[in-house]
Symmetry: C2
Subunit: 241 residues, 2 copies
């Protein structure tokens, strides 16, 4: 049955994840953009994939660019919120966190997002089309994430003879998970191996297990705070600052 009560029936039963029509549109667009290409996908095709009329789609998004902008933003927003919390963590919690564990945790968390998101939207980062003004919020968020990687890297390497560009290398390695995924080469441990690789670059091969333990504790604590609504509040505070 495709009728779901009074009113005009939807063309087909909703089969996409997402609580709202808006979420379903984003999911359908993500699938089409990554499988057929952005330029080759019309808003009509997106509406058809959701089972709604094109005019209904325009109720939620005024352009195809707006949909892409929101999807691209979604690839960094969760990781950026975590990276901000990790960066500000020592002040907020009043305890000094191990710099190695902080960078390891950001790499692992960000890497997991890129490996496990429903669609591999990172392949759209370097579309010429994604350089337009409408994507500035995404570009700014990605740049802020890159900057936090750089800061965490310098904090760690200030104590050693490791390359001060460690954070930038870490950022490159994490984003290369997008390419690995596009090539069908992602494994269960791709994100954690990437985080370990960054620690080896920092000269911490011998201490890797201790760093891993502290890193996963950091991620668990964040998850818990998030469930209590604290982490998202502090992320919002950082955003409005």
């Amino acid at each position: 049955m495709t009728t779901t009560g009074p009113g005009r029936p939807r063309k087909q039963q909703a089969v996409r994840p997402g609580a709202t029509a808006r979420d379903e549109i984003l999911d359908a667009a993500a699938e089409l953009f990554t499988s057929q290409g952005f330029a080759n996908t019309s808003t009509r095709a997106i509406a058809d994939a959701v089972g709604i009329r094109q005019s209904s789609l325009y109720h939620h998004f005024s352009t195809k660019d707006e949909i892409l902008g929101e999807l691209l933003g979604g690839t960094v927003s969760t990781s950026l919120a975590f990276a901000r919390a990790v960066k500000d963590g020592s002040e907020e919690t009043g305890q000094e966190l191990d710099p190695a564990a902080r960078l390891h945790a950001v790499v692992l968390f960000d890497g997991l997002q890129l490996c496990t998101s429903r669609w591999n939207l990172g392949v759209l980062y370097h579309l010429p089309e994604a350089r337009a003004e409408v994507f500035q919020p995404f570009m700014a968020a990605r740049q802020e994430l890159r900057t936090i990687y750089g800061d965490l890297g310098r904090e760690l390497t200030a104590l050693s003879d490791a390359d001060p560009g460690l954070g930038d290398t870490a950022f490159r390695l994490v984003e290369s998970l997008i390419n690995l995924r596009a090539d069908g080469l992602i494994a269960m441990d791709s994100a954690s191996t990437t985080a370990d690789t960054v620690m080896i670059l920092a000269g911490l091969r011998q201490k890797i297990q201790a760093v891993r333990d502290a890193s996963s504790e950091l991620i668990s604590r964040y998850g818990e705070a998030n469930r209590r609504g604290e982490a998202s509040e502090s992320a919002l505070a950082a955003e409005s600052a």
Copy 2:
């Protein structure tokens, strides 16, 4: 003057690098694909950018896909020829080459290609459109290059406690130069820093200068053999084998 002798004059003077009309078409297509997007570029626009008629373009390439396939192939062919020569080097020259210098040289050589090519065509690797059958030669060449990285990495780490996935990490780091370039962040030393990073991952931080010296000697020797026409012959021999 745009007339260059008898016959139909070209619409405009050739301003693109390349000895032949075919090269000019490839150069114009590379510029348009990377700046406007592949799907947004018509063969008509490419012909216009060269200053020839669309029908003349079809004399050289029967489809836009064929142009993209040739451009993508060009991003790996030079590096693959070098990587093959390095891989087979010890047998051909009868002398054992240092495994660290071999991997360093392949990373540096490949990285330099990606950083200094006229257009940053690597941004087109993960276009959904580039997964079609017509791009199989490119995909196969890129896969062979990845395999050589993996082999050279294992050869090096067999002697140490370094990660046996070193070659794969090196391949990811080199290709991330494409992203760095798309973000406008390439520096003069990006390729050599990448090669050094791989050596640090291999645990060779203390020996880096010796590895660099042996690596650049290897690249020079290849360049010389290439000028004498030897390297390209051996590359061809490997191709037909």
